[in-house]
Symmetry: C2
C-alpha cells in the first residue's frame, strides 16, 4: 500500500490529473497514477466529467481494474464498464471477490455477462451462483465466501501450523469459523484466541458460541442495524444452519452511508448512488419526472386559489399574503416529516409510542401556530392597515401549522403502511396538503369574514 | 453476549417493555431487561418518551450504565445523565473507556464534572487530559488509548508468550503497535502475522511500515473519508511521531452516519443527533427559530408580489398561477442544491470540474425550462383562454428554471467559500432566490406585456 493521502493532498493530485488529461499527456498521467491507491483512483474517477473519466480510465493499469470497480458507486461503475472490452472485463472478473463480482455481473449486458460467466472456474461460478441465488439487498448477496473454516476437534497448535503453511489470510480475517463434517456452523474462534490460550487446548474448548450470525435472507438494512447495535466487525452468514460466508464491516459501511443518503436524495427524486457527472441527457430525464409530479400538485394548489377568484379580485392583499401561509405550513410540516422519516428508518417509531409522538407534534403545532399567528397578524395589519386581514391570516396560520404538524407524522406512517417509501413521496404529499390547506383556510376565511 | 435479536424481535420486546412500564411493573421489566444487550437497551431508551425513558433507565442494572451511555445519541445521553446521582455517575465513569468518557464529561454540569474527574485514577485522568487537549471532532478526541505496544527487537514467540500471560486483548484489537524506547511509532504487526510467520523471527523483520496512521489533529470528517477510501478497520493515531492511540471502525461508523444525516436534518434546522422524544418545550424552541428565518424570506416574496399589486388587481389569473412558477423553480433548484451539497461533502467538487458542472446544470435548466414552459403555457392558455397569459408564464418558467439551476450550484459553493455550512443555509437562500425570481419574472412580464 502506498502512502496515505489527506483530502488536501488528493485535491492537489486531482488538479494535476485534470491538467494532464486536459493536455492529453498520457505519460505524465501514468506517472501520477502509479503512486495512487485503488480507493484514491475510485474517488478521482467519481469526480470526473464523462470524457475525462474515460481518458483516465484508459490510462489506469488493468491490474487495478477489479479493485476500482468494486469501489466506485453503481452509476459510475456502469460508465466504466461501458468503456471495457470483453477481454478486459474477463480479466477484471477473475481478480474480483465473489460478492463484488455478483454486484458487477448484474449490471452487464446479456452477452457480456455470458462471456464473463463462461470464463470463470467451476468453483468460482458455483460460489457466484450461491451468491446470486439470494435476492438483492440481502445478507446472502453481500457476503464474502472467502472464509477460513476449522474443525472443533483439533488443537490450537495444529491450527497455527496450518496457518503458517497457508500464509496470508483473506483480507479482514478476524476469526475462524468452526464447522462440523456436514458444514453445520458451530461457532467462532477469534484470531486472538490462538495467541492468548495455551496451544495444546482443543479448538472446541475455546471457541465461542456465535449468537451474532446472520441468516442469508436478512435484508441489508437490517444487517446494518445489527452491526451498529452490537458493534460488530464481522459476522457469519448461515442458511439452514450451514455456514455460507461472512460479512465484514467495510461492506456494511457502504450500506449505512447509502441508507442515510437515500432519504436525502430521494426527497428530490434522485438515487442515493447518483453520478454527479452523469451526462445531461440522463440527469435531465430523471429530474423532469420529479418536476412533472410537482406540477400536478402545483396545479392543484392553483385550482384551490382559483376557487376564490372573486374574493382575490376584491381584496388584492390576499394574493400578496397567501404565499406566507403556504410557506410557513410547508416548513413546519417538513420539520416533522424529516424527523419522522429518520425515526422510522432508525426503527424508533412503533405502536406504543406513535400516540405520544403525535400528541407532541400537535402541541408543537399549537404553540408555534399561535406564536407565529400573532407575529404575522400584527405585520399584516401594519402593512395593509386592516385588522380584519390580520385576524384572518392569523387564524389561517394556526390552522395550517397544526395540520402541517399532524400531516408530518401521519403521512409517512400511512405511506409506510401502504408499502410506499416515505422518503420518496412524503415531501410531495406533505406540501400538497400544506399548500391546499394554507390557501383554502386563508382565502376561505377571507371570503366568509372580509367580503 | 446474549442472543442476537432481529428488529422484529426487538419490536416485540419493545411492546413488552412499554407494557411493563405502563403498568409500573418493575419486576417484569427487570426480567425482560436481563436478556438484553447494552446496544439493544440503548436502542430502547432512544425510542421512549421522557417519563418512560426515566422509568426504564432506573430499572437497568448500573453495571450496564457505562456501555449504554457510550452507545446512545448525544441528546438522549444528556437526559439519562440528568437522572443519575454523583455516585452512579462516578461508578459509570470508572467503567468507561477514555474516549467515551471524554465525550460524556463535556456534557456534565461543572460540579459533577469535577466530582467525576476527582474520582479517576491518576493514569486515567492523564489519558483523559490528553484526549481533551484535542479539539472536538478531531482524531485525538476520537481515539482509544487502550492499545498493545511491542518493541521491534523481540521474537514473535516472546510476543505470543507475553500475550498468553496477559490474557484478553482490548476489544477490536487487530494488530499491535511497534514503538521504540522513546515511544516513536515505527509500524504495525497485524495479529495474523503471529500465526502465519515462523515464531523465531523478530518483530522488526515482519512488521509493516504503517502509512495509514493519522495525525491527532485530523478532523473526524476526514478520518471517516480516509477509512472509507482505504477500507481501513483500525488506524494508529500519532502526534509528533509518537503513538497516542488508535481509532477503530466502530467509532467511525457513527461519524459516517452522522455526516450523512447532518445534511438531511440541518436542511430543516435540526441537529443530526436530534432526540425524537425530546420534550415539547425543547423541540418547539428549536423549530421556531427555523420558522422565524423562513418568515423573513416569505415576507420578502410577499413584498415582491406587492410591487405588482395593480397588475394583479387587473388580471386576477396572475394570482392563481403565480405559485406554480415559484414552486417549479423551488423544486428544480433543490434538486441541483441537494446533489451539489452531497458532492461537496464527498469532496467530489473542486476547481477544475466546477465549470463543467455549472454548464451541465445550466443545460438541464434550459432543457427542463423549455419543456415545462410549453406544457404550462398550454395549460394556462386552455384554463384562462388567453394566449398572452400562456406566453408570459412560459417565459417566466424558463427564466426561473435556469436561475434555479445556476443558483443550486453557485449558492452552496459561495456559502462554503464564506465559511458557512451549505447544508444548513443552502435551502433557505435558494428558495428565497427562486421565489423572488419566480414572482418577479412572472408578474413583471405580465405588467409589461399584458396591461
Amino acid at each position: 500500500m502506498q502512502e496515505l493521502n489527506t483530502t488536501t493532498n488528493l485535491n492537489t493530485t486531482r488538479d494535476d490529473v485534470f491538467d494532464a488529461i486536459e493536455k492529453q499527456d498520457a505519460a505524465f498521467l501514468k506517472t501520477i497514477i502509479s503512486d495512487l491507491h485503488p480507493g484514491e483512483l475510485a474517488d478521482l474517477l467519481e469526480s470526473m466529467p464523462p470524457k475525462k473519466r474515460s481518458f483516465l480510465w484508459e490510462n489506469i493499469p488493468s491490474a487495478l481494474d477489479a479493485d476500482i470497480l468494486a469501489e466506485v458507486q453503481d452509476e459510475v461503475r456502469t460508465t466504466l464498464i461501458r468503456d471495457m472490452n470483453h477481454a478486459e472485463l474477463i480479466s477484471a472478473a477473475a481478480a474480483m471477490e465473489v460478492d463484488d463480482l455478483a454486484d458487477v455481473i448484474e449490471d452487464l449486458p446479456e452477452e457480456m455477462r455470458t462471456a464473463v460467466e463462461d470464463s470463470l472456474s467451476d468453483s468460482i461460478r458455483e460460489k457466484l451462483e450461491t451468491n446470486l441465488s439470494f435476492e438483492e439487498d440481502t445478507a446472502g448477496r453481500l457476503m464474502s465466501t472467502d472464509v477460513v473454516t476449522i474443525r472443533p476437534d483439533v488443537r490450537l497448535e495444529t491450527v497455527i501450523r496450518y496457518l503458517r503453511w497457508r500464509g496470508a489470510l483473506p483480507e479482514h480475517t478476524h476469526g475462524f469459523f468452526i464447522v462440523d463434517r456436514e458444514g453445520q456452523y458451530l461457532g467462532m474462534l477469534p484470531i486472538e484466541a490462538l495467541v492468548t490460550h495455551d496451544d495444546a487446548v482443543l479448538v472446541g474448548d475455546v471457541m465461542q458460541p456465535d449468537n451474532n450470525c446472520l441468516e442469508a435472507t436478512t435484508s441489508t438494512h437490517e444487517v446494518a442495524q445489527i452491526f451498529e447495535r452490537y458493534n460488530l466487525i464481522s459476522a457469519a452468514v448461515v442458511g439452514q444452519g450451514k455456514l455460507l460466508g461472512r460479512i465484514t464491516i467495510d461492506n456494511v459501511l457502504d450500506i449505512i452511508r447509502d441508507n442515510a443518503n437515500h432519504t436525502l436524495m430521494s426527497g428530490v427524486g434522485l438515487d442515493e448512488g447518483e453520478d454527479l457527472f452523469a451526462p445531461v441527457s440522463i440527469s435531465a430525464k430523471k429530474r423532469t419526472i420529479w418536476l412533472a409530479i410537482n406540477l400536478v400538485t402545483a396545479f392543484l394548489a392553483a385550482w384551490v386559489i382559483g376557487l376564490f377568484e372573486t374574493t382575490i379580485d376584491k381584496i388584492v392583499a390576499l394574493a400578496i399574503l397567501m404565499p406566507i401561509v403556504a410557506s410557513m405550513g410547508g416548513i413546519a410540516g417538513s420539520q416533522t416529516l424529516t424527523i419522522t422519516i429518520r425515526g422510522l428508518s432508525l426503527n424508533q417509531i412503533s405502536g406504543p409510542n406513535v400516540f405520544w409522538l403525535a400528541r407532541k407534534e400537535f402541541a408543537i403545532g399549537v404553540i408555534n401556530g399561535f406564536l407565529w399567528a400573532i407575529v404575522i397578524a400584527l405585520l399584516a395589519w401594519a402593512w395593509f392597515g386592516d385588522v380584519g386581514i390580520g385576524l384572518v391570516i392569523g387564524a389561517a396560520i394556526i390552522v395550517n401549522l397544526i395540520v402541517a404538524a399532524i400531516s408530518g407524522i401521519t403521512i409517512p406512517l400511512i405511506l409506510k403502511r401502504l408499502g410506499s417509501d416515505p422518503a420518496v413521496s412524503g415531501a410531495v404529499v406533505l406540501t400538497t396538503v400544506t399548500d391546499v390547506v394554507g390557501f383554502m383556510s386563508f382565502l376561505g376565511l377571507a371570503s366568509i369574514y372580509l367580503i
